[in-house]
Symmetry: C2
Subunit: 379 residues, 2 copies
């Protein structure tokens, strides 16, 4: 692995595993959730609060930081660690997902991706090499290769119709992965390859085997959560894991809801990132064991309970559902902030509990109980 990195699997329960990932900016216990700090900040939340919530590693977006403020500015401020004040580990994505999510503003060719910026219309170019150079300037502990991401489902047709595009994107991603690997200059930054292949088991298997053959410090699953059913995704993860080195960390990109995370932990995933807890929080949806709370609902108007009784987050320690509802109804910034804090703690605690359950060899029972509770009251 890169200098200053190590990954150790500490316990297994079926395919689920818990471990420890060491980086030059600190260790994290896996499986771990990474909060999304698109522009180098988890919206509305300070680094000190994140530490208090149990954050280990944060994710920032290469494409967005390349636009604003520019990787040169971040580099001169001491990289993401110095610029943002989050001194713990950082992971940056490569911009591959933005090439997918901003697709109508993107032209993709064999050499790379051209964006017509949604900010200013300016043309911006990412190649497998420049994606690495930008991430090295940003100074994340973990970088990922540029990949070509396509949906796993489409209204236009089933797997037969999509398979040519899946194959094309998977093969291009492999060529880009090789180029990305050759472009590395920093020895103190880990680089993860990305498995693609749409919703096709054979394509995923081929991609995983070939990506492992190139050789990376860790391996990500890309292009999932874009249409496939949960059970199908679990199989795709398992097929890929059989091809990846067991001692390397595995990262499921961009997912998801608590049930998605537990399902992937069961298959041996070590790292997650997702905007769900933070975005839902900003929109007034709070996670709780008893189900999600749409906090603006009139039934919370005089509810004196904390969002989730028994939760150890700062929001639940001091504020009622009634007050949170009032803040959202009045549009006070404090509402999104308090809801975000609670949701992040919910996610961090979910994974803390998953790690304990794996270590104790009772993950299946934990997962079933968590699913039953989450299904008990959806609103």
């Amino acid at each position: 692995m890169a200098t200053g990195f190590s990954f150790e699997v500490l316990a297994r329960d079926g395919d689920a595993r818990c471990g420890r990932l060491a980086t030059p900016h600190g260790e994290l216990a896996t499986p771990a959730f990474m909060a999304v700090a698109t522009y180098g900040a988890v919206r509305g939340v300070t680094p000190a609060e994140l530490r208090g919530l149990g954050a280990g590693m944060l994710l920032a977006n290469t494409y967005h930081l390349h636009e604003r403020p520019g990787e040169d500015v971040v580099a001169r401020a001491g990289g993401l660690h110095g610029f943002s004040g989050w001194r713990g580990p950082w992971l940056t994505d490569s911009g591959g997902y933005q090439a997918f999510s901003l697709a109508e503003r993107v032209a993709l060719d064999e050499d790379g991706v051209t964006f017509a910026s949604p900010l200013d219309g300016r043309r911006r170019r990412l190649t497998p090499e420049s994606a690495i150079a930008i991430q090295e300037a940003l100074g994340a502990d973990v970088a990922v290769v540029l990949d070509h991401c396509v949906p796993t489902a489409s209204a236009a047709g089933g797997a037969e119709a999509l398979r040519p595009a899946w194959r094309d994107a998977m093969e291009r991603s492999l060529r880009w992965a090789e180029r990305g690997g050759r472009a590395r200059r920093r020895a103190d930054q880990a680089l993860f390859g990305i498995v693609q292949g749409g919703a096709d088991r054979e394509l995923r298997r081929t991609s995983a085997r070939a990506t492992a053959g190139i050789g990376f410090d860790g391996y990500a699953h890309g292009g999932l959560g874009l249409g496939e059913a949960g059970a199908a995704r679990a199989e795709l993860l398992a097929v890929s894991h059989a091809e990846l080195p067991a001692g390397a960390p595995r990262y499921l990109m961009g997912l998801g809801h608590p049930e998605d995370l537990l399902q992937a932990v069961e298959r041996g995933v070590d790292l997650f990132d997702c905007v769900v807890p933070t975005r839902h929080g900003r929109h007034g949806v709070l996670f709780a064991r008893e189900g999600r709370l749409a906090i603006r609902n009139a039934r919370f108007r005089e509810d004196p309970l904390p969002p989730e009784p028994g939760c150890d987050c700062p929001t639940c320690a001091s504020f009622s559902r009634a007050y949170l509802r009032h803040l959202f109804v009045c549009g006070d910034l404090l509402g999104p902030r308090l809801a975000t804090l609670h949701n992040l703690r919910f996610y961090y605690r979910l994974l803390e509990e998953a790690r304990s359950a794996i270590a104790a060899g009772r993950f299946a029972a934990f997962r079933d109980a968590a699913r039953a509770a989450a299904g008990a009251r959806e609103e």
Copy 2:
């Protein structure tokens, strides 16, 4: 004074004074600044943060809380203290200022004020009696009487043209003050009268004398900061103070910028509230000894300094101007929050220093130095 209240002047320096106001929910050192918590929250800031910044008493708005969530909801949640989590002292205004600021949606008659709600168009009525009843339900430590507020300047004409309106509003405010005083039911809530009279010294003198004659626990200056020059305002304050009991707290409503506060402290004002630090913070304007920083300015793009070197606030302890600029440029909620924290600390510290200067008999020198610094670089 009301049960659980006392006010003591501890030191004087010219007309400036420092003192201690005790309330059923804690003491505060005066002169003091009250942050504005319109809906029961200082936008984006928690009670724990406010304590850390040095907050003493907060101000909430009767009219806005009457609309949302309604004083009945707040009362059942334990009043403002229980509902919001700010367990320290609260002051509520009466809605008189909203009758002015929402003037085009308001019909005022001798009995009270009718609002066409800007939220839902519904008709809402405030009278001198209902304004007290609502504030008693909200449970603030300090309530104020309903007053009739008019501008101190107008494009339409000078003092001669405005004086009839000033007189009319001042006389009505006196009749409303008497009715408000008779409407009190709670012995554990202080009630402040409000001096009106526009920018006319004789009207202010008459109002102050008559308001003192009714007898309140403290006295506010209403209708200032609405057009008059600073020097004129200082005279109006001095004229009124000569008529008010020296042992009662004096509160200048709704002002202002740091220089306004120091000028009023010099004339013997004890309490202030204003949206300036919080609103400016949300808009990216930060107060500093060296002048205000419009933090979005490109010149801060790579500025590694904290907003105000030497400041002891949590923002200056951890974040650079460059990072704050980036947060504002990207529209991250963390920007307004961090700027608000700094600006509030700037105000609290300004008044801490003013109190020390008064106690040491060097207030004039302190005021001159603060003015010179603030004028040194405006941007």
